[in-house]
Point group: C2
Chain length 518, copies 2
């Protein structure tokens, strides 16, 4: 690659151009000042739409044709159907049949169920994916097989990129568990309910053309309107938009591992003893097995103390719903539902509310929910001695995960990473993260089964836990302990070629992912 | 005025330039095709806003200063506090004290309570009002005293103008009955509840700077978020945003006039006998005294027949709420609440839902609710032999009313105008309307106490009511009858000077208002 690299504010060499578009290197947290105006899609007129509000067309193919699908377009989808999504694959089956080439797929996330997309990356239907690449797609990218360069953004960064016009969506294809013929749609009802459709909002507001695809066409008005029909061009009815049992992710099982349970217990204990957990606290618990256990422990503490969390921010789970229903949580503000209990709760509890991603996560906005959150529980594939975090690659260099809301959530008051000291005998705490997704200055506490490391910047937390009896260690001590057990890990074997870039929440480039040496 | 006039598609002479900005003459219903992109406000960054989400500043003056208020800016307000609004006047008191000049006031409507604004039009603080001018402000404009030319738009036309960038709002000052320190706000709660805040949405989405003013600061999160805090720059707390007893308009009293009751009865009878009223019908009833009586009569028919209206579109009133609560209406979709019963209903009935003006009324959108409505009951100050309607001026030429959603609602399937044959011995049906606000092709039926005139274009309705026993007449017969009683009305005595222009729903100019000859 002949594009010049620039060393950014966290010392990573990043390209000045990505897929033919100029790129800005990361300048430091809060340092980049955006200029210019938001993206402005074309003005429509009602005279082009049916007076009776019926926008149903016969098939997705018909809708794509009417939207003028052509080579090089950017097609967006949302990920609320998670690993049960049937629409993204169907969409590219059609694009391929129509012999359209060089598309950009811009999902809010992708899942292993999207593995069939690989054949369309191979045959040139799709030039590249801009979005998370879990599992097989990530492996494909890591091996240098994708034509274009992948661009990974956080959920908030994706909204920022759409709003700012860095990514211009030509056609948004939005699966909807319920929709009316006008295109109003929601995440509840029908056989493919996913709870909320928050990640579709930026897409329908800013895309040139919008197609709603549903397997549950209901009479107008489809209320609440998570997708507003006045932004929608066509409505398509299909047999099935998703596989119900896979829409609800299997990740929402409490860990049974004794080590992970210990981490969860230590985390709850740390939050209590440090004084971070208090009456009126705001928290996001997450949906991993350890996070769920933490939610259960925190719930117990709240009950014991007679305290109430003011609000929880979702991805929601059964365990947050229990806090809400039993009176230990005031509201759940929700960007996505991870399990069936959450889907049901959104439908019936007035204080379990779909929350706009613009408001929660978009850094190019007038404030975000995340910076107001007291407790933020997050994961990582690696953390390094400077508390920098990695969530996208493993230590072997393979790109296997998306960023999700992780970067956005780093702006919370207390960012806690409960992580095992090692996974499959590979240390999680390392000298330097393989991919730097979040700068260490935003990561406050690392909690492992063998000790807790507080970021030296957080002198307040060091002070408040001094005589707590908690197993406090330096991060260096934790790293050395891991290496004593597992040995010094091998650095990933990588080529020079850049296969993916990682954007920061402000659209600048914080790091890259390089091709695996095979 | 030396600006050339152009004869538009309805034969009215309109200027090619208004307040220094090029203007497009009306081309016919659905004929103007907009070009270009939507308006794009500047990109913000969270780094300019407090991490704790607290945007409260000490006063409205402080907020206006921080927004950089200066000469020539456009300042917008909403009208949900109706004749009880205290914020608009306060705003210009401050602007005057700061010696700012030539502002454009861009309210979603103005009311008699805004009469104090006249002194700021006199002293040059305000150059012009773009918005409705009820009562004293209208009289002032009609007498040629306002420096700039008034621009009147429908509610939907206002949203269209904001979205399309015809009007660029520098600062939106949005009164909110409840708000949190982040700027999330709603129309319910507190001492100044007005029900919904739908007309503030275009303002906060597209303004460069947004100030929320509340007398009821509540803890975050203020749910539901009718104003989304991530668009808000500052929050100001004042003692009172409005006078509660005037927020709820006195217009929502059923008429006691026997003539008006007869009109209401005839209207209900016409809707029943013509077959327009049916099970599953969608309707907007309006809030005038006659309209309220019509709602009551329609409710009785629905009950009698065992029918249910699928939905009613608000401005909501007690009588729509009764239909909803008693099971004769499925939903109320609401843009504004006219009375206390409606305000309460919105707060408690899950099927009484704030409805976005973008979706209902914005013609530069991908479809509108209004074109899907079966029954649309509207008023008029004048109707002419071609069924053209006037809602802004009286026959004496004085500009005394706003357009409201009237033009937008003309797109419904059946537009019914129940109007008296004369008011204060002045005929309402005339040869030619003083000001043409809506083309006759969209107005279907005129119902007076002395007979019903169906637009000849509606051969279907003429057919379906042929043997109904209804007092059907031609509009010419109705006009002649009025003139036999009241005499031929005098034409308004007007100068050449244009004091206001009337925009159509697509931003083109449909007519002008001229200065009164005194």
């Amino acid at each position: 690659m002949s594009i010049p690299l620039i060393i950014n504010a966290v010392g990573r060499a990043v390209p000045s151009e990505i897929n033919g578009q100029a790129a800005i290197p990361f300048k430091g947290v809060g340092k980049h000042r955006p200029e210019g105006k938001k993206h402005a899609p074309s003005i429509s007129t009602c005279s082009d739409y049916p007076d009776d509000g019926n926008k149903v067309v016969s098939s997705l193919e018909e809708a794509l044709r009417r939207c003028g699908i052509k080579d090089g377009m950017t097609i967006s989808t949302h990920h609320h159907l998670r690993d049960g999504d049937l629409i993204s694959n169907m969409l590219f089956d059609i694009a391929c049949a129509l012999e359209v080439k060089d598309l950009v797929w811009f999902p809010s996330a992708s899942f292993p169920c999207n593995e069939p997309i690989i054949k369309y990356l191979d045959d040139g239907t799709i030039n590249r994916i801009e979005g998370s690449m879990n599992g097989p797609l990530g492996r494909y990218v890591s091996e240098g097989k994708m034509k274009g360069t992948a661009v990974l953004r956080s959920h908030g960064g994706r909204v920022q990129a759409i709003q700012d016009g860095e990514v211009k969506i030509d056609i948004a294809v939005l699966a909807a568990p319920s929709a009316d013929p006008f295109g109003n749609a929601r995440g509840t009802g029908g056989k493919s309910a996913c709870g909320v459709l928050g990640y579709a909002k930026a897409d329908y507001m800013y895309a040139e053309k919008v197609i709603v695809v549903t397997d549950n066409l209901i009479e107008y008005p489809c209320i609440p309107m998570e997708i507003e029909g006045n932004y929608v061009d066509y409505v398509v009815v299909v047999d099935k938009i998703g596989i119900p049992e896979k829409i609800i992710s299997g990740t929402t099982q409490i860990t049974k591992s004794p080590d992970r349970l210990l981490i969860a217990e230590l985390t709850a204990s740390f939050l209590e003893k440090s004084g971070i957990l208090k009456d009126g606290t705001t928290l996001q618990a997450g949906a991993g097995g350890t996070s769920l256990a933490i939610a259960v422990f925190l719930h117990e503490i709240l009950k014991k103390k007679g305290w109430k969390s003011k609000l929880g921010f979702g991805g929601s789970t059964k365990y947050m719903v229990e806090m809400l229903e039993q009176g230990q949580m005031g509201y759940i503000l929700d960007a996505q539902a991870f399990d069936l209990d959450s889907v049901i709760s959104i439908g019936k509890n007035a204080n379990h509310i779909p929350y706009p991603v613009f408001n929660a996560y978009n850094y190019h906005s007038k404030g975000n929910l995340t910076s107001m959150m007291d407790i933020m529980i997050l994961g990582a594939t690696e953390v390094d001695l400077n508390f920098n975090g990695n969530v996208v690659t493993h230590s072997d260099g393979y790109l296997l995960h998306g960023i999700g809301g992780w970067q956005n959530c780093l702006h919370a008051r207390n960012v806690i990473l409960p992580i095992p000291l090692f996974r499959d005998r590979i240390p999680v705490i390392v000298d330097e993260v393989t991919t730097l997704c979040g700068p260490g200055e935003l990561i406050d506490v690392i909690i492992t089964e063998r000790g807790i490391a507080i970021n030296p910047l957080r002198t307040d937390l060091i002070e408040s836990t001094r005589n707590s009896g908690l197993p406090l260690k330096s991060i260096k001590e934790l790293k050395e302990e891991a290496e004593r057990i597992c040995g010094k890990p091998q650095k990933a074997q990588l080529e020079e070629d850049i296969v993916a870039v990682i954007k920061w929440v402000d659209g600048t480039v914080i790091d890259v992912v390089r091709k695996i040496k095979v």
